[in-house]
Each structure stands twice: as C-alpha cells, then as structure tokens.
C-alpha cells in the first residue's frame, strides 16, 4: 500500500541466547497512531529499539516508506524519518535543555530548519523554553519526558516512537504528555506508542497490537481491544 509508512514483517530479535521477539508483524499507515500494549517482559521495548535501530534484528524485515532499514547501522535509521522517545527518557543529563533539543536536530534533514522547529517545540512545551539553560539532569521526571519528546520532534520525524511515556509520572503529567502526543499526531506524524497504561494508549490510538511473551497475541481497532477482557487479563498478568 502506498500510504503505509511502516511495515514490520516477521521480526525476530535476540539478546544473546535469549529470544525476545518471535515473528512480530505490524503496519502503520501514514498519519496513523498505533499503540502496542502488553505486560512487562512482553518485548515492547525490544520492538521499539529494533525499529529505532538501537538494537539489531536477527530475522525479518523493517520497511520505512518502502525502504528496508533492517540491516542499517544504528545511526542511519533516523535519516529515514524515524525518531524515538526512549523508555526512561534517556535525556543527556549533563547537557542543557537547549543542547538536548539541538542534538535532536543532528541529522542532515533536520538541521537546516532547526530554528523553526525549536520554536514549535517551545510552543508545545513552554516549560522547556523557561528552563532552556538548565542541565537536563536536574529537571523533574515530567519535564524530562517533555524534553525527550521535544528532542525527538527536533528530528522532524515522519514516524515517532514512544516507549512507555507515562512511566513513573504523576497523572496530571501523563495528561500533558498525551495531549502533546495527540497534537503531534494531528500534525500528520505517524505515531507508535508502546505502553503499560493500556487505557491511555487505547484512547489516543486508532489501532492496537497486544504483545505477549514476544509475540503478537491480537490486534485490531482500539475500540475493540478496549473492551476485551483478554487484554485486561494479559496486562495484569492474571
């Protein structure tokens, strides 16, 4: 399909002698928001890392905009318009907020317009503008999450990957985060949200995938999965 942005086919990922993902397949259309939910240890972060090029896949295919990115070295994947907001934020603690954002715009396609992008990011997250010269390590959890999202936006992505953005955040902060995600999605960026907070994820996504023990257990429109008892049981580990 010409408006498929992301196509994952039978993805296998290994960590040493342990296999974390088994034949995972999913698709994301242009401008679509998709969420991946599942209990801990199901492989959600592994999936994000593989898509972002942080971890090598050992089998299967990843195609972004028709281009095969499976075997690309890590630093080349973002050139295809993929940006990641890692689990636990992983901002650069000893660099200022602004420096963190600027690093987001490192890739060639994003550099020329960095001034424009940073203005947009500041509008979306005014607190980042206020704290521009502070060291990222001294920000609160919520602010670090904003920073991580802002940094990803600086790369002017067509595909944004969010790994457990609600992790360790107070509800009102999570609200802010998901408001931002919705605005980003509204601007035409395709979004993949990986989440433990099932309700949030389903509220913001059009389609959902349920991951269990490294495999896709079920998938479908978000509304369907929201009412599914199987999802509840799976996530609670019952």
């Amino acid at each position: 399909m010409s408006d498929t942005l992301l196509e994952v086919e039978e993805l296998d990922v290994r960590y040493g002698d342990a296999q974390a993902l088994w034949g995972v397949s999913l698709t994301v259309a242009q401008g679509e928001t998709v969420c991946v939910v599942g209990p801990n240890g199901a492989g959600k972060s592994t999936l994000v890392n593989a898509l972002a090029g942080v971890h090598r896949a050992s089998g299967g295919r990843i195609r972004v905009n028709g281009q095969d990115t499976t075997a690309l070295p890590g630093h080349r994947v973002c050139a295809h318009g993929v940006a990641v907001v890692p689990e636990g934020r992983r901002i650069f603690p000893r660099m200022t907020v602004t420096d963190n954002l600027m690093l987001g715009a490192y890739r060639k396609g994003a550099r020329p317009s960095y001034r424009e992008t940073i203005t947009t990011v500041h509008e979306m997250f005014p607190r980042l503008a206020e704290r521009a010269t502070q060291l990222a390590g001294n920000l609160s959890g919520g602010e670090q999450q904003m920073l991580a999202i802002g940094r990803a936006l600086m790369a002017r992505p067509t595909l944004l990957l969010l790994d457990e953005p609600s992790l360790g955040l107070a509800p009102v902060r999570v609200d802010e985060v998901y408001d931002a995600v919705q605005r980003i999605a509204a601007s035409g960026v395709s979004v993949v949200v990986v989440e433990q907070d099932v309700e949030r994820a389903l509220a913001v996504a059009a389609r959902a995938y349920l991951l269990g023990e490294g495999r896709v257990v079920s998938s479908g429109p978000a509304a369907e999965l929201r009412d599914s008892p199987a999802v509840r049981r799976s996530v609670l580990g019952l």
């Binding site: 890590g74 630093h75 973002c78 890692p86 603690p93 000893r94 690093l103 490192y106 890739r107």
Partner: protein, 289 residues
C-alpha cells in the same frame, strides 16, 4: 617581586601543561579511552621539530606545518586501532602503556638517549623575552600560553556551539541514544583522535622550544599532566586550562618560597585532597547532583 614573577611565569607555563593535558582529558572524557600514547606523540613531535629545525634550518614554529598534519593522521590511526580492539576503559590504559613504551624506545633508537637541544642559532625563541617593567617573560612561555588559550577557546566553542561538539558530549553520556539521532560514533571518534594528535604536535613543538629532549622525558610528563587532568575534571576543556594555570602557579610559587624540589609534593598532596573533596575535579562545571 619574586613571588609575583613566579605567579605570572607559573601561569604562563601552565599553558604548556594545559596544552599537553587537553588531548588526554577529552579522549578520556568523551571516548572513555585513556590514551597514554599521547605522551609518545608529544615526544615524537618535539623531536621532529628539533630535527627539522636543526637539519633544514626551518623556523621551529614553522615545523608545525609538517608535524600537525602528521600527528593528526597518527592520532586518527591510533583511535581507529582502539575502536577495532574494543578494549575496555581500563584495558586501554594498559594497551596504550605498552604502545607508549615502544614509541619511547623507537625515539631512543633514532635520536639516542643523549639530551638533544636546538641551538640558539636554530631557535631564536629560546633566548628572546618580553619585559614588562621589572617582570620578564620568556617568549617561549608566552607562545605556550597563547597556543593553549587558542586551543582551549576553540575546543570550548566547538563543544558548546557546534552540532559536532554536542554530538561528542552526547556520545560521552549515552552513546546508544546519540546513535539513534544520527550520531556516527566511529567517524566522530576518528576526527577527534586526529585533532588530539594535532594538539600533541603543538605541545611537542612548544616543549622543544625551551627544553632539552631525551626519550625518558615522556615519563616525567605523566605526573603533571594527570594532575592537570584530574584537577580540571576529566573531559572539561576550560577546567583543564584553569587547572594547568593552577598547577603552574603552585609549582612556581612553591619553588620560589620553599625550594624547586618541593613542588611535586605540594602538587600531589593537592591532587589527593582534590580527589577526596571534589572527585569530579576542582573546576568541573555541570555537576548534576
């Protein structure tokens, strides 16, 4: 007056210390490699400056046109080797120690263990000095300080204001995430290795201007340079300059007030105290609590 002269001269000499230390500090802080071969590169550069000046009558400072590119290549090649070997931070210390020994021996084989010094006819800078009232400053120390200042300023600007600089700092803190944003670790580290080599060439030339050379000299630099690196904070560029000045001033003042040989004590006591009280370095900025 003696003390004032000592302080100022010490500060200027501190420039040379900083020049020697900055390469090591940045490599350690950013790439997590303790590259002792850096001392070897400084040594070889010093000898090259000596040789070119003595044999071909080239002005010592002009020899930089040769030594800087040569050491850039050497530095990059070394960095490539370290990358290939994928040694841990600690093992890099050992491997580079081994390589340093080899370098020093090669220098001894080529130039012998005798002290070599550029004669005054070849090296006009050795005896030149600038006077400011009753204070006298040898030109060589001024050159050292100016070069150090330029290098530090340049490094500071690059690290703080350019994309490449940010990329380097990001690699030091979270190389995997930096990669996810397009930072090519390999290529950047090669360039950094080359630039560090270039600073070694500068330091070597300056050293050769005012000192006699012998292969064993490389070992004598260890103490001072590591003092500067640790006091300044590993990877902190401006901190290195400040620490270099501090060390220079301290050594100079102690030499005048007590005796020249007491300086190493005071220096190392200072390091130990610094490590105890501020392990990140006296001048480390950006401490995240």
């Amino acid at each position: 007056m003696n003390v004032v002269q000592a302080v100022l001269s010490g500060a200027l000499i501190g420039g040379l210390y900083a020049l020697m230390a900055i390469g090591l500090s940045v490599t350690w802080g950013v790439l997590r490699i303790i590259n002792l071969v850096h001392f070897g590169l400084i040594l070889i550069s010093a000898y090259l400056t000596f040789q070119l000046a003595t044999s071909w009558g080239v002005d010592p400072l002009l020899t930089l046109l040769v030594t800087v590119p040569a050491m850039f290549v050497a530095g990059a090649a070394l960095q490539w080797l370290f990358d290939r070997l994928a040694v841990s931070e600690f093992n890099s210390l050992l491997v580079s120690f081994g390589l340093l020994i080899i370098t020093i021996q090669v220098a001894a084989n080529i130039w012998s263990a005798d002290f070599q010094r550029m004669t005054a006819s070849v090296n006009p800078y050795a005896t030149a000095s600038v006077s400011l009232g009753r204070l006298v400053f040898p030109v060589t120390t001024l050159v050292a300080f100016v070069l150090a200042g330029v290098v530090v300023l340049g490094a500071h600007l690059v690290l703080r204001r350019t994309f490449a600089g940010r990329a380097l700092r990001a690699i030091a803190q979270d190389s995997a995430v930096a990669g996810a944003f397009g930072v090519d670790h390999r290529r950047l580290s090669l360039v950094l290795g080359g630039l560090v080599g270039a600073t070694a060439a500068l330091a070597g030339a300056v050293f050769a201007l005012s000192n006699a050379l012998t292969p064993e000299t490389a070992y004598e630099w260890f103490g001072i340079v590591f003092a500067v690196v640790i006091l300044g904070g590993v990877g902190e560029v401006t901190g290195t300059l400040a620490a270099g000045i501090l060390v220079g001033v301290l050594s100079g003042v102690v030499a005048v007030v007590w005796s020249p040989a007491t300086a190493p004590f005071v220096l190392f006591t200072a390091i130990i105290l610094a490590l105890l009280l501020r392990p990140r370095g006296l001048f480390a900025i950006g401490a995240v609590r």
